[in-house]
Amino acid sequence: MTSARAIRNAAGIFVVTTFLLGLQGLQGSASAQAPQSVAGIPDITGSWERARDPSIPAASQPPLKPQYLKEQQAKNQAAREASAKGTPLADRATMCLPEGMPAMMGATFPIEILQSKGQITIIEEAFTQVRRILLDQPQKAVADVEPGFYGHSVGHWEGSTLVAETVGVRENVVYQNAPHSADMRIKERISLGANGILRDEITIEDPATLEKPWTFTFGYRRIPNYSLLEYICEDNREYAGENGQQKIRIDAPPNPGK
């Protein structure tokens, strides 16, 4: 072997070794960022949208106790009647308030799920809603959680199912106008089906207002190559007018009469 050839070979080995080390480095950093590569835990990171699918049960009515059922039905009927007359009632959306839990999981706009070490983060595009599910941590006592729109969520993987529980949702943050107490617990079982449909089976437990737990399921399908858009409520012109009706602010035209 000539010395020139030896140098070429050495250089070649160096290049190949560097390349392989580089690959190993990439794989190493990829697994460090993706704890979901643990056996059995599905990769659910990415953008999703609500999907109808035969595997997803139809919506269900809350099994409210009679007095709360009456309250909910009266609210829903008042809203329906006002809409039928062309004078819809203002609601929390009119004020640009985010939906909170569990309504945000209804994903009117797309959602993004992020799996990171010790936490699953779910972002809903509308109102830029964010919730965090803290993994493998004990749940707090309701009294220790400041009531909020999303509450305090903890979760863990049971095989390939993410099991989560949320407490501390404000009493005025409601879904389908169903009243609930401060002690409401939202339990979720999130799993990815072989059909590619992600399902979130939600069970609301609230013995104060419900006859029995209320279970409903949302289904989602992936939106490939979609990044969530920003959503800020800015100069909202909708407001609650007299009698709580939804109104729109009419601005004076910039050039009246021209």
Binding site: E49, R50, A51, R52, A82, S83, A84, G86, T87, P88, D91, A93, T94, C96, G106, A107, T108, F109, P110, E125, A126, R221, I223, N225, Y226, L229, Y231, I232, C233, E234, D235, N236, R237, E238, Q246, I248, I250, D251, P253, P254, N255, P256, G257, K258
Partner: protein, 145 residues
Amino acid sequence: MILEKFAMPRSLCLAVILLMAASVAEAHHSFAMYDHTRTLTLKGTVTKFQWTNPHAYLELDVRDAKGVVKHYTLEGTSINMMQRIGWRSNMIKFGDSVKAVMAPATSGEPVGLLLEVTLPNGETKQLGVPAGDSFKRTPEQEQKP
């Protein structure tokens, strides 16, 4: 690559997916304050195109046959919804002449729900109003202001 010839362009795929999504999603805001039984077609001059959430607004000056100008406020949908069906903030500018199809407010105020706009370049764009088909379109020649 014979398959490529038959494959749907990615943008079209996304559009189809998002249209399917639109059928599942409910609206955040009620559009019940607008007349579902008739539409008005306005030809006017844009005084403002408000590109905001929760909804966009188009402000339009419309001159009648006698030269009298009436101002209309037209409510659009979420700019996120609009972007997903191809809208951009710079598509309408102050002073543009546009044609707008709207469902008038039942209150009788000069307000409407914007359903469709024909841009100065002649392109007609929908607003992606949820359940937009529930607003019955009135042929232009049969419209009463």
